[in-house]
């Protein structure tokens, strides 16, 4: 079977969109796949149909629109609602839509699957009405749904950004319960000078905090010991400590945030080497400056290669595309190096703020080491206590924990429990090898798989 495309890109967020444009502009044939019904990724989700988009979403809005418009470039084939469930060494990309699986192949595959929110665990986090802030943002962007009297809990830039968006959209949160401590900011201060190239971003952050203050949102700082219960009226009662004092707030909806982590299941199932990022407390793929992985023909860019945000993602997507164009002989090495200078500079500048943000918003240990009654694996309803007990009884790594208590065996494939299982294991002084990921990385119907038995695939050569 001949390769229909030069490059298959998985994920139409900022990294995927800029890569597709860069590749197509240089005459490469590109297939861009995304699970959603439209391009944009989570950050520019449904951006085209936003009313008053600019006033609520700021300059994100213009950037997103420009990227989406450039997808009209000749040479880019778009497939939406396409859920990629496997990539193998022969670069067969298996994707599913409406219960039919398709096989696309290319010499190069670029993964730009973005990030997910780091799960924020406390007793009651599985109750209806507790959601990550990113989920509320999706509902706001794609359905115009605004949470009623939301309480925002946690810390990190996205938490404040969503608070600002809610204020601007006329649905100010009832309270902001911040886990931030002055000590964390102080610790981060020494990284401030190197963040100066990203001054614009820093100032934006300061403005957001001012906007929250100006809106007179009730704010609790140095918060900890969270628990949520349901009231008799099906509202949620959040109890916590702030500066050591017990507090309670009742609200219909509680939005949490605790940072974001790369989406790695697809890359791990494809055999890409990954490593632990201690500072960001997450698993990420090992890639070179162009996004090349240990698997020939497989690049990763954007947040799924390591958290950097939309600007970094855009630059990384462009760099990966340039390298792939060079490897495919569409451009020379010299052309690649010349064309990439700007993107490298742009990425360096956008990355300069990371060290500051990583230290200022380090995930709190308490939230990664939940109390025994807290559910860790939502799919299989496994508690932290059960995981700790399995370790006491000799489970000596993530695989043994999984096969003993079933954490990670459900349909989400460990996406929501792997990080916590890891921190629990580490706290028990148990080796924390990276968890295995297997295809299909998204569930696929048996009938659909059976239909593939008549297909021909590329075998690894």
């Amino acid at each position: 079977m001949a390769n229909e495309f030069d490059l298959i890109i998985v994920g139409a967020g900022p990294a995927g969109m800029s890569a597709a444009y860069t590749a197509a502009k240089n005459k490469a044939k590109v297939l861009l796949l995304d699970e959603q019904p439209y391009a944009g990724g989570q950050i520019f989700r449904n951006i085209e149909s936003q009313v008053n988009g600019e006033s609520i979403y700021g300059d994100e809005y213009e950037t997103g629109k420009a990227l989406i418009n450039r997808l009209g470039t000749q040479g880019i084939s778009l497939e939406f609602r396409a859920s990629v469930w496997r990539i193998d060494e022969a670069r067969n990309v298996l994707w599913s839509r409406d219960e039919v699986s398709h096989i696309s192949t290319a010499r190069h595959v670029l993964l730009t699957g973005g990030a997910q929110e780091r799960p924020m665990l406390f007793p009651g986090w599985t109750l209806p009405g507790v959601m990550p802030v990113g989920a509320a943002q999706i509902l706001m962007k794609s359905s115009g749904l605004l949470p009623r009297d939301a309480v925002l809990v946690g810390s990190g830039p996205l938490l404040y950004w969503v608070a600002v968006q809610l204020i601007r959209a006329g649905a100010p949160p009832k309270a902001l319960v911040d886990t931030q401590t002055p000590a964390m900011y102080l610790k981060a201060l020494k990284h401030l000078p190197q963040a100066l190239p990203a001054m614009v971003t820093l100032l934006k952050g300061v403005r957001y905090l001012q906007e929250i203050r100006a809106a007179k949102i009730k704010r609790f700082s140095r918060s900890s010991d969270f628990a949520v219960t349901e009231t008799d009226h099906n509202e949620l009662c959040l109890s916590f400590k702030s500066k050591g004092f017990a507090q309670q707030i009742t609200a219909p909806i509680i939005l949490t945030h605790h940072g974001i982590i790369p989406a790695t299941n697809l890359a791990r199932s494809a055999g890409v080497k990954h490593e632990w990022n201690e500072q960001q407390q997450c698993i990420q793929p090992v890639v070179d400056g162009w996004g090349q992985t240990n698997i020939s023909g497989l690049h990763i860019a954007g947040d799924s290669a390591g958290i950097g945000g939309a600007e970094v993602a855009q630059a990384s997507g462009q760099l990966a595309a340039l390298n792939i164009l060079c490897l495919s002989s569409y451009i020379s090495k010299l052309e690649r190096d010349t064309a990439s200078r700007k993107a490298f500079t742009k990425r360096r500048r956008a990355m300069s703020i990371r060290a500051f943000l990583d230290v200022a918003y380090t995930p709190l240990a308490e939230l990664q080491l939940p109390s025994n009654e807290t559910i860790v694996c939502r799919c299989e309803e496994v508690t932290a206590g059960e995981i700790r007990r399995s370790v006491e009884q000799g489970a000596d790594g993530p695989r043994q924990v999984k096969t003993t208590v079933r954490a990670g065996m459900g349909p989400c494939q460990g996406r929501l429990c792997d990080p916590t299982v890891r921190t629990i294991l580490a706290s028990c002084q148990v080796p924390t090898s990276l968890p295995n990921a297997r295809s299909p990385v998204k569930p696929v119907k048996l009938g659909e798989l059976a239909a593939l038995s008549n297909s021909t695939f590329h075998n690894h050569d």
């Binding site: 790594g397 096969t403 048996l446 009938g447 038995s453 695939f457």
Partner: protein, 376 residues
């Protein structure tokens, strides 16, 4: 856990090693189990969970009988584990099917079962049903099923529960399990017994050693005078989302686990030391499941995986004591679940050479050298 010198050291903490350790502890020995690493190839964490008769030993009478004994010993073995741990193994021995979609394969399997019956006589019975007969028996089977065999002795168990219950039982009986450790070298200790190097550094002593390390056994076996070379054979499996109703049958390739998911397996591939799941096997397993029971087509597969079977040259178990290093035993097989009930009982009598010891001569590794010299 800190490893002390022990009377008997079992090398390998999978279902085979833990079953042997469990039996040795019940026989009153002091036992340490060395478990290996979380990242090792581990057949015990990737297997299918059958306690199965059909087809086993059709070409080798001793294996047919050994399997039959194992199936018979399962209920009391399961009960013992339940008594010690209070947990449930979900053992179900109410009979199982083999389904066929190719007439020639169905005919050939009928011959296999008849040969097995010749060995076992009234200890084994089976039924052969043509497509229409089996569809009448099991409404919902697909039109592509040309025939099925049924044996009322066949059953299944939750293999992950078996592993974890064995582990807790070994600890409960006073055994030591050392995890995250690899035996890197074995030699005769000065005087008697053995000296084991762990992770290239620490050394421990043991009077006797039982090698149950699956694919990890080969190099160690050589160091204590065994000749057997085991080889990996990849099997691939699928598991679906959980189903809130029971599937009306158990087969050697399609079984519903006690939590509700449908597990599908049965491929055999020579892929070396590579346990990746292949696209062709995934598609082939799915097709088989949908052919057999079309309503399964709507179930989602949530994971597939490959696992490596441990195959001896003729595929039958190996139970040998070393000629050059008496006190070193090799226990190797690919049906660790089915045979667990004997590995914890009759095999212990053989290791201890009690008056009840079964005759396991037929499983000694010297059969490989006899065969190869006969060929020359």
């Amino acid at each position: 856990m800190f490893l002390e010198n022990s009377e008997i050291t079992v090398i390998g903490g999978g279902i085979v090693g833990l079953s042997v350790a469990f039996g040795l502890l019940k026989a009153g020995h002091s036992v340490a189990v060395i478990e290996g690493l979380d990242t090792d190839f581990s057949a015990s964490r990737g297997n299918f969970g059958l306690v199965w008769m059909q087809g086993k030993g059709s070409g080798y009478a001793p294996y047919a009988h050994w399997t039959r004994d194992a199936v018979a010993a399962w209920p009391s073995f399961s009960e013992q584990l339940h008594q010690i741990t209070g947990d449930e193994l979900s053992l179900n021995q109410t009979g199982g099917f083999e389904f066929f979609t190719e007439a020639s394969e169905f005919d050939a399997f009928g011959d296999t079962l008849r040969e097995q019956h010749v060995h076992l006589g009234n200890r084994f019975s089976f039924e052969l049903l043509d497509g229409d007969q089996v569809r009448r028996l099991l409404p919902g089977l697909g039109p592509n099923v040309v025939g099925a065999s049924f044996c009322e002795l066949d059953g299944h168990v939750n293999p992950l529960k078996l592993l974890s219950m064995l582990k807790s039982s070994v600890v409960a009986l006073g055994g030591t399990i050392v995890s995250g450790a690899k035996v890197t070298h074995i030699e005769k200790a000065p005087g008697a017994g053995f000296q084991l190097s762990i992770n290239h550094s620490k050394t421990v002593q043991s009077n006797r050693i039982i090698l149950c390390a699956g694919l990890g056994s080969s190099t160690l076996a050589e160091q204590v005078g065994f000749k057997t070379q085991v080889a990996p054979q990849r099997g691939e499996l699928l598991i679906t989302e959980k189903l809130g109703e029971r599937l009306p049958f158990l087969s050697s390739t399609i079984r519903q686990v006690n939590e509700g998911g449908i597990q599908i397996g049965g491929t055999q591939a020579d892929a070396g030391y590579n346990d990746d799941e292949s696209l062709s096997a995934i598609a082939q397993l799915a097709k088989h499941a949908v052919d057999v029971f079309p309503a399964l087509a709507d179930l989602r597969v949530i994971r597939s995986w490959g696992a490596l079977r441990v195959m001896s040259p003729d595929g039958y178990p190996v139970y040998s004591q070393s000629q050059t290093h008496p006190g070193a035993y090799l226990v190797s097989c690919h049906s660790g679940v089915t045979l667990a009930s004997l590995h914890a009982t009759a095999l212990i009598d053989w290791i201890d050479d009690t008056p009840n010891a079964p005759d396991l001569e037929a499983f000694d590794e010297h059969r490989f050298s006899v065969q190869s010299s006969a060929q020359h």
